[in-house]
Amino acid sequence: MANVLELQGITKRFPGVLANDKIDIALREGKILALLGENGAGKSTLMNILYGLYKPDEGKIFVRGKEVEINGPNDAIELGIGMVHQHFMLIPVMTVVENVMLGVESIKNGLFLDREKVAKRIHEISEQYGLEVDPHAYIQDLPVGIQQRVEIIKVLYRSADILILDEPTAVLTPQEVEGLFKIINTLIKAGKSIIFITHKLKEVIAIADDISVLRLGRMVGSIEPSNATPQKLATMMVGRDVSLVVQKKVAEPKEAVLKVENLFVRDERQNMTVRGVSFEVRKGEVLGVAGVQGNGQTELVYALTGLLPVDGGTIELEGKMLHNATPRQILESGVAHIPEDRQRHGLILNFPIHDNMVLCTYYKEPFAHGVSLQEKPIFSNAEELIKQYDVRTPNIYVNVGTLSGGNQQKVIVAREFSRPIDLLIASQPTRGLDVGSIEYIHLQIIKKRDEGTGVLVVSSELDEILALSDRIAVMYKGQIMDVLDAKQATKEDLGLLMAGIHPEKTSKKK
């Protein structure tokens, strides 16, 4: 079958970086091409070139056999190329119809928006591809999985037949992922061609027709899914053998370090997002909190670390009551926090590494005498930590913002682990990181556990929860659905719990 899209020798340089180096890829008509690569491998650059946001320095683009020049998203759309971004480009306070027609509004009587016409068209698209959605619903009321459908409808509404899906499964539950895969299959049957960007190895093998792997801006190779194993793909991506399974001993939990009882928390918009949560974390164990994003996990962690006030209930750390304590009181009680949003909470991006390394301890000996900061210990502390935690940086004086995501996260891990701690709260500790960094950070977390620290890991990646946890709590709509023993937990059960369904209860009903 013919190649519907072909890139030949695409090269793109940024000052000091070769983002894409003579990359060739080909998308066959009616097939799924998976583009696999770590962060910084050049996937996004390549897709932005394809979508007309960047101009390549060298190379040719062929669409349906004809060489084309793409100077902007409008050109791309005209050529039938549509992109579903990882971060949805939707306006929450508008309806599905309004979002879909945004930029290509249907007008009636020369002045008014023709919502009905668009709604009708959305209905047709929905039926044709199995993308059920209420055209008049407001985006903010829709679950993430449905919002993604709206994004896909948007692309189809502009009659794209080459779809680029950028990390489409990052925000979905396992069930929603299956739903997405069904939709993708329908699209393929209808003759669409799809580029699927991801770093999740198993998905690639499950769905792709062709796999291309990028590393450091270069094409490492193409492989057929039938020949691929997760291990093989990971090695191609990283360039060395990586362990995909976290090697860990059986946990030896001791007494509880953190006891949470009947906790209620409101989010910043005053919605009650944590509703009566109780659990405990014991020394020497990892308690994983699974759940689809936005089910109260973020607010739970904020309350535990003092970033949000507690509305009701208690938090007890080693006998000390810490609900509504200040962040500093909580830090000083021996709590380390790897925050969910490392650039918002975890780091000051335009401060140098050495200052970020003492962000929580700058006022203590030896980093300060009285009010006077002591540069020598601050510098030597940073030198030691970047060595110990393998932070790749030219020196400790560069701003943290210049580091890659993985190295930024290592700075946070180094800082938090260098204090004496009894409890580690790690929220989405490896979000957006590459396989190599994930391996490293997982090992560090398990090391802390084995030293006798209590660990609370919050993650929306089930693989991560399963890899790290000794017990797993599943959150749904602000409540803990159940706490499972990690050894007995299956992905299916967890997925159902994440969707608010109790597997045992439903099986009884059957």
Binding site: P15, P327, N350, L373, N395
Partner: protein
């Protein structure tokens, strides 16, 4: 051996890095000033004046005329009479006198910027500081200078600090935006000073001015009249250094810069946003108040209506031009001092209105605020320079 070598190498790269970052930091402001002067010259030429003549007059008015200085020196060496020499230094010292309040108020705005706060209230803080210093200066009599002068300065700082603290507290406690509140505090300060100068603090019934301060509260001058150059200038330099030390070498400064650069991370790290906002606004007010105090005690010796000619507003431009760094503020304040002081001469000598200086200042600000223009004009490759967060939007 190898360790030593690597250490040396590290120190060397560190030095190089420092030098290049210093060059980077200076590049845009220097080019901005240059472009402002050139474009100002174009404006003068378009309006029918001779820019070269104008700039020569500006130079003579701000630095002094070299020939007059040399003549003064010759007289001094020949006869021992220093009168002519001292007079020849008048333009230069007067520029430094003009720069003094700019340094103080520039620091007051810059320290706010460092914490992500936009202190538009420096003008009002200057007024309150000046009135407080003047009051202590004229009302207390018979104190020795060593007590009276510091007390009068302290009063100015305290008054300014109080005036800055109010919007700081309103922001920290109620989230009221500091831009609105500092502007309102300005108006309160203006009207309050009008009332004080026509009432409780009025010297005589004729003019709305305060009595002269006691000699024991005056900042000592270094030369005889008409040279007004006084200790205030060195006090300003000292405070610039103190602000530098405070911001970059103390834990409190670390907190302030953290709150300014990323308040969420500062909160995460256990810093109190509320405490730091109130602290910074009080410090900013104290600096501006000191500026007002130094102007009264060193230069004017009394306060009248329209006492400040916009020191607190020009300060915003100075802080921007100085990239919110205390040393940058000193340089920018000197530039403004020389421009303002020389402008008068330019008007009398070359017949060019003082307002042309405002145009030049305005151009410089635009270039500094939009470095992309300068980069484009001079074809400078865009290198990612650390940008200080100036303020955040209305929402947070």
């Amino acid at each position: 051996m190898s360790e030593k070598a690597s250490k040396e190498k590290k120190e060397q790269t560190e030095k190089q890095k420092e030098q290049s970052s210093l060059r980077q930091a200076l590049l845009v402001p220097v080019l901005a000033v240059l472009s402002g002067l050139i474009l100002g010259g174009v404006v003068m030429a378009l309006s029918g004046s001779n820019p070269f003549q104008a700039y020569a007059a500006l130079f003579a008015g701000s630095f002094g005329s070299p020939s007059v200085i040399i003549a003064g020196m010759q007289t001094y060496f020949a006869t021992g009479d220093n009168n002519a020499l001292v007079r020849s230094l008048y333009p230069f010292t007067e520029s430094l006198v003009t720069a003094t309040p700019y340094i103080f108020t520039g620091l007051a705005v810059a320290i706010g910027f460092r914490a992500g706060l936009f202190n538009i209230g420096a003008e009002g803080q200057v007024f309150i500081g000046a009135l407080c210093s003047a009051f202590i200066g004229y009302s207390i009599k018979g104190l020795p200078m060593i007590i009276h002068l510091p007390l009068a300065l302290l009063a100015g700082a305290a008054g300014g600090a109080f005036w800055g603290m109010i919007p700081g507290y309103l922001k920290a406690r109620f989230g009221a935006h500091e831009v609105v509140n500092t502007i309102m505090m300005n108006w309160i300060a203006f009207r309050l000073s009008d009332w004080l100068l026509k009432g409780p603090m009025q010297a005589s019934n004729f003019r709305p001015v305060t009595p002269n301060v006691q000699a024991s509260a005056e900042l000592p001058r270094f030369f005889e009249d008409p040279l007004r150059f006084n200790l205030g200038f060195f006090l300003a330099l000292l405070f610039a250094y103190l602000v530098y030390w405070f911001l970059f070498k103390t834990t409190l400064g670390f907190e302030i810069r953290s709150v300014g650069a990323n308040p969420d991370a500062a909160k995460y790290a256990g810093m109190s946003i509320v405490k730091n906002i109130v602290l910074v606004m009080s410090l900013a007010g104290a600096l501006a108040g000191l500026g007002g105090g130094a102007q009264v005690l060193g230069v004017d010796h009394w306060v009248g209506q329209g006492f400040s000619s916009g020191y607190g507003f020009d300060a915003i431009a100075i802080a921007l031009l100085g990239k919110s760094h205390p040393f940058g503020v000193v340089l920018a304040a000197l530039l403004f001092g020389f421009l303002r002081s020389g402008a008068t001469n330019m008007q009398s000598m070359a017949g060019i209105p003082v307002d042309i200086i405002s145009i030049i200042q305005g151009l410089v600000i635009v270039f500094v605020a939009a470095p992309a223009i300068i980069r484009w004009l001079y074809r400078i490759k865009s290198i990612k320079v650390e940008e200080t967060v100036l303020t955040r939007g209305w929402g947070k």
